[in-house]
């Protein structure tokens, strides 16, 4: 039992999305489809609501359509109740150029400042701040308990890694002493290879009035920065504690990391840690028929969503909803998003297909483990275009087939 409105949640999804292009060309990282039926935003949303958070503010500087289409009233997460609910705050002042690079020149802290009323109206004692780029399944109640017990001003969540992993280099790492106190923070790539790394997961808990104070101070000093910069500074300047997370974590900083995260889910330990643990992840419900496996199909070691029709061979792959795999196809080590179809005789190895891609019969695509081939949404790939594709990220002329992009 928790007092109503004790804690309010911030989904800070102003993450720069250029990293996972072309998958993030037309959608923020938060709405990247993941593991057959989820989107990345499902994880923080579920973590917050499972912990009893009833008021959640989504702060973004980006195209809201795919987020809003997915989240709507927040009903799937129980957020359409009399109390609290979901609130959307977009950085309406940001320039088109800023949007393209995924961040405004002034910094997103002004978006928080302009909407500071949200924090005051929520009347919550504590605020939890999360993003969607750090794919994880955290127990927000446990973090809050830890925060209250330790009595620090700010609690920041980290995960400890034995050695440097290239996709973490873009994030920040913490220096934490034996008492769990945060002593410093710097970019992970500034750490040398020796010893453990404490990856900052960009999840923070603090008193709501402290957060509003930090935002007001920055704006008063006319500084241009992002909320994450403010928080990075604050955890060093104010008494702050680390909370160690030991579950599955992947920082989605690149297409490679995105691909690996999907492949990770083919291992039961990862799937259980992220999706089958004590908190089952909620997502938008779609009414799809069961998936049909034909006599000619052969599927092993794969995750498959509802609504698929499978006549060919699929191994070591992740298939989203409504994917059609025709006869005599081979799909191996690939991620096939919703509504794509793979023609007969086609062969895909190490490929990521965005939504509604059509692979014509007998097309063969060979990516590599480190550089999967990525095909943009709504593309049509035939044997003729296949020769132009190397194991690089391919950009497609969106005019080829751009119908029906609105209802994603």
């Amino acid at each position: 039992m928790m007092k109503r409105n004790k804690i309010c949640g911030i989904l800070n999804i102003t993450e720069p999305r250029v990293a996972a292009n072309p998958l993030t060309m037309n959608r923020p990282i938060a709405s990247l489809p993941f593991c057959s039926r989820y989107r990345l935003i499902d994880f923080p949303l579920t973590n917050l609501t499972t912990a009893g958070v009833e008021t959640i503010g989504i702060f973004t500087n980006d195209n809201l359509r795919s987020i809003y289409d997915h989240v709507r009233s927040g009903k799937e997460w129980g957020l359409d109740s009399l109390y609290g609910g979901l609130f959307f705050f977009t950085d309406y002042s940001s320039h088109p150029h800023d949007k393209a690079i995924g961040g405004s020149r002034e910094g997103d802290v002004y978006n928080y400042y302009n909407n500071i009323e949200f924090f005051e109206k929520s009347e919550s004692e504590y605020t939890v701040i999360m993003g969607s780029q750090m794919l994880c399944n955290v127990d927000v109640q446990a973090i809050l308990r830890h925060h209250i017990e330790q009595g620090a001003d700010i609690t920041v969540v980290y995960k400890s890694f034995e050695q440097v992993n290239k996709e973490h280099l873009q994030g920040s790492c913490l220096t934490i002493d034996e008492d769990g106190r945060v002593r410093g923070i710097k970019s992970c790539n500034l750490f040398n290879n020796a010893g453990k790394l404490f990856i900052n997961m960009e999840i923070y808990v603090m008193k709501t009035h402290l957060l509003t104070k930090l935002i007001r101070n920055v704006v008063a000093e006319n500084e241009h920065c992002n909320l994450t910069d403010v928080l990075h500074q604050a955890i060093v300047n104010l008494p702050s504690n680390g909370f160690e997370y030991t579950g599955y974590l992947k920082a989605i900083h690149s297409v490679g990391a995105y691909y690996e995260a999907n492949m990770d889910m083919l291992h039961d330990t990862n799937l259980t840690a992220l999706l089958k643990g004590s908190q089952s992840i909620h997502t938008k419900v779609k009414n799809e028929a069961p998936t049909y496996y034909a006599r000619s199909s052969k599927v092993e070691n794969s995750l498959i969503a509802n609504g698929c029709m499978i006549y060919g061979d699929v191994s070591h792959s992740v298939l989203f909803r409504n994917v059609t795999v025709e006869k005599n196809t081979t799909i191996n080590s690939s991620v096939i998003m919703q509504g794509s179809s793979i023609g007969s005789g086609a062969e895909l190895h190490y490929v990521v297909l965005d939504k509604q891609v059509r692979i014509e019969p007998n097309t063969k695509l060979f990516g590599t483990k480190d550089k999967p081939i990525v095909i943009e949404k709504n593309s049509v790939i035939s044997r003729i275009s296949e020769s132009n594709l190397s194991s690089e990220t391919i950009k497609f002329d969106p005019s080829i087939e751009n119908a029906n992009t609105f209802f994603s």
Partner: protein, 377 residues
């Protein structure tokens, strides 16, 4: 037009499967319950007010339907209302039959003041646009319209048979006739002009000649009184899954991707309450052929011509053939299941065997199969 779904039937011929739940709540096709078809048809036909009349073992059914939001039926005005028998100053009001259930809920129907009343049973598998039937009812200036389907003449004596003239007017009705004169079987779907039906029901009740059943009492009384009663012919898939054999057969046929029901048709979706579950996983060594599988399953064994519902686990070297496995069942290793219907939450210990022959084996909900402990051995 508002709809009343009669979902109170026990479906006793389904044996173990309806011991604890009503027939409309029996699972079908891997991720549906039988009543989903009527509810989805209502939603797709634009009907916004639906009363679901329940009586027998309603718990599962009530929690399934909830506020109707899963079918898009959680409207501000109307929506889905569960109507259960209740007591009053006149005594207890158990529903004695289909028409009696309507009579007992007159006040609910009156509160929505409909011109037409659609009456459905919650235990058939079909897709139907009730709007078309209403147009027919209006065009024929009928006071009662009965949906009928052509059945093979040799099976006609199992149904209520309508004899019509060449304008589709029903001139004669026979309940399960030994020598059927036509093959137009009643589907248990009726549209009534509400004030007419209301008058017949209340008058008969006032005179003590209760009309308890639509087929046996109401339609014959309408005919006897010269009301305009018409037969609306339905062409398409319609199945009464009232027995273990017919439920099994209907499910097995449903696996075929070219099935007449066309479940993947986006323009007439069948909705259901969808539990939260991750995608299904086919492990190394899994062999799945000619089968339907839904979210949350973990499959290591061999599945042949079967339907596997949500969150089922099937261990290595187990074989499931020509069977239906309902949600949340756990099947160990080296298990054989052949020609069977397995209820929800069943547990199969390693090496267990359930093999049906001419009669389909049924494993009940929560039943445990195999796995004798040491003492029992």
């Amino acid at each position: 037009m508002i709809a009343m779904i009669l979902a109170g039937g026990q479906g006793s011929r389904l044996g173990k499967l309806t011991r604890t739940i009503a027939k409309p709540a029996v699972p079908f096709g891997g991720k549906y319950r039988i009543i989903d078809f009527s509810l989805s048809n209502c939603s797709n036909s634009g009907i916004r007010t639906i009363g679901v009349v329940t009586q027998y073992q309603p718990l599962e059914l009530n929690s399934h339907i909830g506020n109707g939001s899963h079918w898009g039926l959680d409207h501000k005005d109307g929506g889905v209302t569960i109507l259960q028998p209740h007591s009053s100053l006149d005594g207890e009001k158990w529903f004695e039959g289909t028409a009696h259930a309507i009579y007992q809920n007159i006040s609910y129907i009156d509160s929505h003041n409909p011109t037409y009343l659609l009456i459905l049973s919650g235990d058939h598998i079909y897709k139907m646009d009730y709007e078309h039937m209403l147009h027919f009812h209006k065009r024929k200036k009928a006071t009662a319209t009965v949906a009928v389907i052509h059945v093979p003449l040799e099976e006609a004596s199992r149904f209520g048979i309508m004899n019509t003239d060449n304008t589709d007017r029903i001139i004669d009705f026979e309940e399960k006739p030994a020598k059927p004169k036509s093959n137009l079987a009643s589907m248990g779907i009726y549209i009534f002009t509400w004030d007419v039906l209301r008058r017949y029901l209340t008058e008969s009740h006032a005179t003590g000649q209760n009309m308890d059943d639509f087929g046996k009492n109401v339609i014959p009384t309408f005919l006897a009184n010269g009301e305009n009663v018409f037969a609306y012919s339905f062409n398409g898939y319609w199945k009464d899954v009232g027995t273990i054999e017919s439920l099994w057969e209907a499910n097995m046929a449903f696996i075929n991707p070219d099935h007449e029901l066309n479940i993947r048709d986006k323009s007439w979706r069948i909705y259901s309450k969808n539990p939260v579950a991750p995608p299904h996983f086919l492990a190394k060594g899994a062999k799945v052929k000619e089968s339907l599988i839904v979210d949350g399953c973990y499959i290591s064994g061999e599945i042949n011509h079967s339907i596997i519902s949500q969150n089922v686990k099937i261990g290595a070297n187990s074989v499931v053939r020509d069977s239906i496995v309902m949600a949340n069942t756990v099947i160990g290793k080296n298990v054989t299941i052949d020609r069977a219907i397995v209820g929800e939450h069943a547990v199969f210990a390693d090496n267990a065997q359930i093999v049906g022959d001419d009669t389909i084996e049924v494993v009940g909900y929560n039943e445990i199969v195999g796995g004798l402990n040491d003492e029992e051995k």
